[in-house]
């Protein structure tokens, strides 16, 4: 009897890239709902715009590069980049801003470097930085969180959609009336104006640790992140590294001079720290890949975030921190190779 030849191992793989990406998306759902609750429906439109342009850009690039379009779109990686970008943008963002970021992320940062698996830089963060450079004013349009006792004007669903499509506000609203600085902005401006941390934290935008609303989104992001960890989609090293790199220096500075340095809790729950630790820095393609390397990579990102927030001119530093550490990945991976069994016990175990 005749049989067909094939390579071994003969076994069906238990996972695939698409399911990995889908689980990442699923882990973001609670945080997305919280985001919509606190900051209005803007995120939904941002998500849609980013997704449409990222997927269209991906399809276009695949076609130009002569690759099968269907299979590659089916891995959902462009969608994940789009969703992360949308999460990083203010809820009120005109479509062309989001589209620029999404297209840059997919076309330049991803496909010009060789597509899935070959991009050096985190696509979502590369797209974000382009927006930061090209449309800096749009990144300041954060609406106030919807809390019972904070009395600000909120846009309706249709008004938000209108803004996304045209960049214009209804006659009844002004930017001053609806938008507020982010907690990190408030902190930075306050400290620059010689206010003490406790004075700044008297601002009604401030919550228990970070900003009101923000810290709850942070909780939901962390929940999703831990779920991904339990599922084995991400590992503990990068989130732990980001936490260490950010909180240890923040803690030291805060203990030394609590008047001029916000607490580690503030650093953790303000801005995009948690999003970065669990979802952005953990993008496997652009992150370090050895177990110890991931810890080093995470610590580097955390420390850079802290540095940029403390001594830089930007309020938050997640995007720059991630992109800078992306550059260091090949070196990190080389110097943190694990001890190979049988090569002596010179190097410590890596787990």
């Amino acid at each position: 009897m005749k049989f067909e030849l094939r390579e071994t191992p003969y076994w069906s793989a238990r996972t695939n890239v698409a399911s990995t990406m889908l689980q990442v998306l699923a882990a973001l759902v609670p945080a997305a709902l919280a985001h919509v609750w606190y900051f209005g429906p803007g995120l939904i439109f941002n998500l849609l715009v980013a997704a449409i342009f990222a997927v269209a850009g991906e399809a276009m690039m695949l076609r130009l590069r002569g690759r099968p379009v269907g299979a590659a779109l089916g891995d959902y990686s462009a969608l994940v980049a789009a969703v992360l970008l949308a999460f990083a943008l203010p809820s009120l963002t005109p479509w062309w801003v989001t589209a620029t970021g999404a297209l840059f992320a997919v076309v330049v940062a991803k496909h010009l470097y060789g597509g899935l698996g070959f991009n050096i830089f985190n696509p979502a963060m590369a797209g974000y930085v382009v927006i930061l450079v090209a449309f800096p004013m749009h990144l300041n349009l954060w609406v106030a969180p919807r809390m019972g006792d904070i009395d600000y004007q909120h846009l309706t669903f249709l008004q938000t959609l209108w803004f996304t499509l045209t960049g214009g506000l209804p006659d009844s609203a002004t930017f001053d009336a609806i938008s507020r600085a982010t907690p990190l902005d408030v902190m930075k401006t306050g400290l620059n104006n010689m206010a003490t941390v406790s004075e700044i934290r008297a601002n009604p935008l401030m919550g228990d640790f970070g900003g009101r609303g923000w810290e709850w989104i942070g909780n939901f992001l962390a929940m999703g992140g831990f779920w991904l960890m339990i599922r084995g989609i991400i590992r503990w090293q990068i989130p732990a590294g980001v936490g260490l790199g950010l909180l240890v220096p923040a803690g030291i500075m805060w203990l030394v001079d609590p008047g001029n340095n916000p607490s580690p809790g503030f650093h953790l729950f303000a801005g995009a720290s948690i999003l970065c630790a669990f979802f952005i820095a953990t993008d496997p393609v652009s992150a370090a890949t050895s177990p110890r390397g991931r810890l080093v990579y995470g610590i580097g990102i955390g420390f850079l975030i802290f540095s940029i927030r403390t001594w830089g001119s930007y309020a938050d530093g997640v995007a720059f921190a991630v992109l800078l550490m992306n550059m260091a990945v090949p070196a990190i991976d080389y110097v943190t190779r694990p001890h190979i069994v049988g090569h002596g016990r010179g190097s410590a175990s890596d787990e």
Binding site: E4, L5, T8, Y10, T15, T289, D333, R337
Partner: protein, 506 residues
């Protein structure tokens, strides 16, 4: 008697895989009758192929050597039943390079007449060195699948300071259950073999290592061990994790010692033998039956009645499957060995050889989605038992970067296939590492060849130069001689001529 113990070393990674072993262990071992024709490859072991010592037309008996080892590394091949040699020709076999290999084909006469082998003596009175030679004559090789000649392995071990004999009953690869049923049905032979091996090695400690998913085998071994009352033998249980049955992994698991890269278990004081090998040693040394049969698992969803069979070596897979009840209509691939480390063959005319621990007939591969690029998720590094970074190795293998491949430990890869199993991008990592290893070997060979050529070229240049120099020196010496000796010689010639002239004149 000692109770089974669990004190274990640390092993990185590995996978808990569904065993698929129930189907083949339900029934006792099925004895396959002697077929009409036996096909005996002369290369069934690591080392040089054995050389046939019989010709076409010769009558051979069961257990008679038909091919003798050639060179230091090798074992004899025995006729596995009586009959007539009808051909010595290439025949399809399962191996990693090439499809066919020279085989001795025997037409059986059905009498199964036995060859009178050497006289059986009590092994305990034999010198270890003599016992090793005897084991060599039995044609015994490692039956776990690696088929390293047992005698040579033991001889090498005798040159080292060894403390432990590990009997490998960790049959960690899914589907394979031949060692399990062997331990259940022939525990006395397994432990008896361990005693023979301990005498050969002059070792005082033997660990019989069995996976925790084989309680019945452990119970039978314990019973026999209690009867034997040999307190040098200890049964150890290890967790059911693939690939803890790999030789180096087993050593690490049981002794917490790492076999050095490129080294052998003997470097850390251990000798590992498969339980089947131990039983084969016992059968030969104590009972006088050389290695002419083995237990093979026949299973998979392409097999109608999965079971374990004992068949004479040289019986074709087709004959065996026919005896078990044939294939199902799902049989699409035929794998010799396990699903992870085995090799597919295109025909069931291949014979069962000393290495054939499992025959797996399976449905068409379930990979339907194509391969995607590596997303560096690192799942492969988590499961690698050698703690490599397969994702990095794959990158460097694609770039053909030999130095980086060495840095990242390509040569330490044991090709267990764990990384393939967890890869979300479905990249055939192990296959690519196999190819990269081959290329590195080729490159090294090429380098060695180039180096030899260079040395030859330089030697030739040197020789030519030396010869030229010598010629020049000779010439110069002659010139010099001519210079100093010349005038005198001329004077002498002139004088002689003058004298002659004068003589003529007078």
């Amino acid at each position: 008697m000692t109770a089974p113990t669990y004190d274990l070393g640390r092993l990185h990674g590995g996978l808990r895989l569904p065993g698929h072993k129930e189907a083949s262990t339900r029934e006792p071992i099925l004895d396959v009758p002697i077929p009409a024709q036996l096909v005996l490859p002369i290369e069934q072991h690591v080392g040089q192929p054995a050389q046939p010592i019989v010709g076409v037309g010769d009558r051979v008996l069961k257990g008679q050597p038909v091919a003798e080892p050639d060179g230091e590394m090798g074992v004899p091949v025995h006729a596995t039943s009586s009959g007539t040699v009808v051909a010595i020709e290439p025949w399809p076999v399962a191996r990693h390079r090439g499809d066919k290999a020279p085989c001795i084909v025997i037409e059986c006469d059905g009498l199964d007449e036995a060859f009178a082998g050497p006289e059986i003596v009590d092994y305990r009175v034999l010198e270890p060195a003599d016992l090793l030679l005897r084991i060599l004559d039995g044609g015994i090789v490692g039956l776990g699948g690696a088929v390293f000649p047992t005698a040579q392995k033991l001889m090498q071990a005798r040159t080292c300071k060894t403390e432990f004999l590990l009997l490998n009953g960790v049959e960690c690869e899914p589907y394979i259950s031949c060692d399990d049923v062997l331990m259940r049905e022939r525990p006395a032979e397994v432990l008896g073999g361990a005693q023979v091996l301990m005498h050969a090695l002059q070792i005082e400690t033997c660990f019989v290592v069995v996976e925790s998913d084989k309680p019945e085998a452990v119970a039978r071994l314990e019973e026999v061990l209690a009867d034997l009352g040999d307190d040098r033998i200890v049964i150890k249980l290890v967790p059911t994790i693939y690939p803890s049955g790999g030789e180096d992994q087993l050593v690490q698991l049981v002794t917490n010692r790492e076999v050095p890269s490129g080294g052998l278990p003997t470097d850390v004081g251990c000798v590992v033998q498969n339980v089947g090998t131990a039983a084969a040693v016992y059968d030969w040394v104590v009972r006088g039956e050389p290695l002419i049969s083995r237990v093979t698992t026949v299973t998979g969803d392409g097999i109608a009645n999965p079971t374990n069979v004992r068949s004479r070596l040289g019986t074709t897979i087709g004959d065996i499957v026919g005896r078990t009840g044939g294939y199902t209509d799902r049989a699409h691939h035929l794998i010799i060995g396990g699903p992870l480390t085995g090799k597919t063959v295109s025909t069931d005319e291949v014979p069962v050889v000393k290495a054939t621990n499992c025959v797996l007939a399976v449905a068409r591969s379930t990979y339907t989605r194509g391969q995607l690029p590596c997303i560096r998720c690192g799942d492969c590094a988590d499961v690698c038992p050698v703690q490599l970074l397969p994702q990095q190795l794959f990158w460097h293998a694609n770039a053909d970067d030999e130095k980086k491949l060495r840095d990242f430990g390509l040569t330490d890869c044991i090709e267990c296939g764990c990384c393939d199993l967890v890869c979300p991008s479905h990249i055939p990592l192990t296959a690519s590492f196999r190819i990269a290893k081959g290329r590195i070997r080729e490159l090294a060979d090429e380098k060695a060849r180039a180096e030899r050529a260079r040395q030859r070229f330089e030697a030739r240049n040197e020789r030519l130069e030396r010869e030229r120099r010598e010629r020049d020196e000779e010439l110069a010496r002659q010139k010099e001689t001519a210079k100093t000796a010349g005038p005198a010689a001329i004077a002498e010639i002139l004088e002689r001529r003058q004298r002659k002239h004068e003589d003529d004149a007078s």
